[in-house]
């Protein structure tokens, strides 16, 4: 079975703390994505990566960074967490367009982050 695993389902952090959200996929997908989901705003893309060590800004990258040292792992980093980063974070992966399921995203179960 296809699997995207996010290491933490629930996190509570304090303002100013550094936060790491880890995501691992076992499907050998080239593409990986981080979204955040907020009521009324839907899913918004933070960063994505086409390959190891490559990263591209999504629609709302401010306050976030990412790391992709291995193909299967994509990490989202909040250097100094703020209360407006309280959200549900979803990781996803896919094959590149023209391969496999051509654009279909496979999602992890989400990490709910609360910043106090």
């Amino acid at each position: 079975d296809v699997k995207v695993t996010q290491s933490s389902r629930y996190l509570v952090k304090r303002t100013g703390e550094k936060v790491f959200l880890e995501c691992v996929q076992d499907m050998d997908h080239e593409n990986m994505f981080w979204y955040r989901q907020d009521p009324g705003l839907g899913l918004r893309l933070i960063y994505f990566s086409y390959d190891v060590k490559m990263k591209e800004k999504g629609d709302i990258p401010e306050g976030y960074s990412v790391s992709r040292e291995k193909k299967e792992r994509f990490s989202l980093i909040l250097e100094s967490a703020s209360t407006n980063q309280t959200s549900m974070y979803l990781c996803a992966s896919s094959f590149p367009p023209g391969q496999g399921t051509d654009g279909e995203l496979f999602f992890g179960e989400g990490s709910r982050l609360t910043v106090l």
Partner: protein, 108 residues
Amino acid sequence: EDKVVQSPLSLVVHEGDTVTLNCSYEVTNFRSLLWYKQEKKAPTFLFMLTSSGIEKKSGRLSSILDKKELFSILNITATQTGDSAIYLCGWGGEKLTFGTGTRLTIIP
């Protein structure tokens, strides 16, 4: 800027009703339009549409794409309480851009 707009934002119907969810898009380099259902956890894939006018069906759910008018609809017939969820529409290309989703609630 690429945009995906879903309507309505929320919908409450009775079990057995038929519903139509809408998704319109303004995107460059369109490749595919995808529908997902999200209950409590991760969104799960429903349909991928790439060609205009060809309906895709899965049980009581169906979807169709109109590339000329730039919209897609998702129909659910004979709704059940298990259909209660957020339905997400996204445009697929190099990345997947989503709309805000439609929250569907089915009342028994």
